[in-house]
């Protein structure tokens, strides 16, 4: 499956992409399996990290810095998302005394 890289003494792009895919899948599994909203949040961060790794690997592969700027912006958005999300979690916990997503059914139809 792994495509051999022509360049020697460098870890091939495919290895980084596989690791990125594995990290992203672990994040997806965390979102699917866990009921704790904090763990779900951490899994989302894990997915963002996996995507960042793929972007940096591509940046090296194509010799372009644009992807690194994009990673920088992704990190910014992740920080904002974590701040707002954790505030929501604090609000939710204050009202329901729980961090279980099964209790998060206020907007359920």
């Amino acid at each position: 499956m792994l495509v051999a890289n022509a360049r020697e003494n460098m870890v091939p792009l495919s290895a980084y992409l596989v690791l990125s895919a594995v990290l992203f899948t672990i994040g997806v599994l965390g979102v699917l399996l866990r009921r704790n909203i904090l763990i779900i949040f951490m899994s989302i961060e894990l997915m963002l990290n996996g995507v960042n790794l793929a972007l940096v690997a591509f940046s090296r592969e194509f010799g372009s810095l644009d992807a690194q700027v994009f990673v920088f912006l992704v990190m910014t958005v992740a920080a904002a998302e974590a701040a707002v999300g954790l505030a929501i979690i604090i609000c939710f916990f204050r009202n329901r005394k729980s961090v279980n997503v099964d209790d998060l059914n206020l907007m359920k139809w």
Partner: protein
């Protein structure tokens, strides 16, 4: 480093205690930062350590401690069927991603032209790009951060 990142990531989602999960997530991020260094991106490695492992994870740990969870809330109940389907679809998703990578890489071919053109390691080029070509997204990101700060304070404060 890849193995360390994977093992820590698995531990993040499998550990019962959220504090331990957060610590393993920090370990994952540190190993990813080392991988960034190996990928000739030292600025991103530094940002990864400072912003992710520093700021975001401290925020996570702070919230976990603040919520002061009782012991019985750590191990939430899991449904057997959901667990089974979750793992099943997780592996299907991994297969999908692997196929996409395989197809994409074979379609890409081997770009020999980029062999000489290595990414410059310094931060100067990145800063130049950030302040010229990507100035507008950069400013948008700063506004987004401001809005996030205000939003977080509004939501987390008991009464304004």
């Amino acid at each position: 480093m890849a193995i360390a990142a994977t093992v820590c990531a698995i531990l993040v989602i499998s550990h019962r205690n959220p504090v331990a999960s957060a610590l393993f997530l920090i370990a994952t991020m540190v190993s990813l930062a080392i991988l960034f260094l190996a990928l000739n991106a030292p600025f991103l490695a530094a940002v990864q350590i400072i912003v992710y492992a520093g700021a975001i994870m401290v925020l996570f740990l702070f919230v976990i401690m603040l919520l002061n969870l009782r012991r019985d809330e750590f191990g939430a109940e899991r449904r057997k069927a959901q667990r089974f389907f979750g793992i099943l679809f997780g592996f299907l998703f991994l297969i999908l991603l692997a196929t996409a990578i395989d197809v994409g890489l074979s379609a890409l071919g081997r770009p020999e032209a980029t062999t000489e053109k290595l990414v410059p390691a310094g931060v100067e080029k990145l800063a130049e790009l950030l302040y010229t070509k990507y100035l507008f997204p950069f400013e948008l990101a700063s506004i987004l951060l401001l809005v996030a700060i205000v939003g977080a304070i509004v939501m987390a404060k008991r009464k304004l």
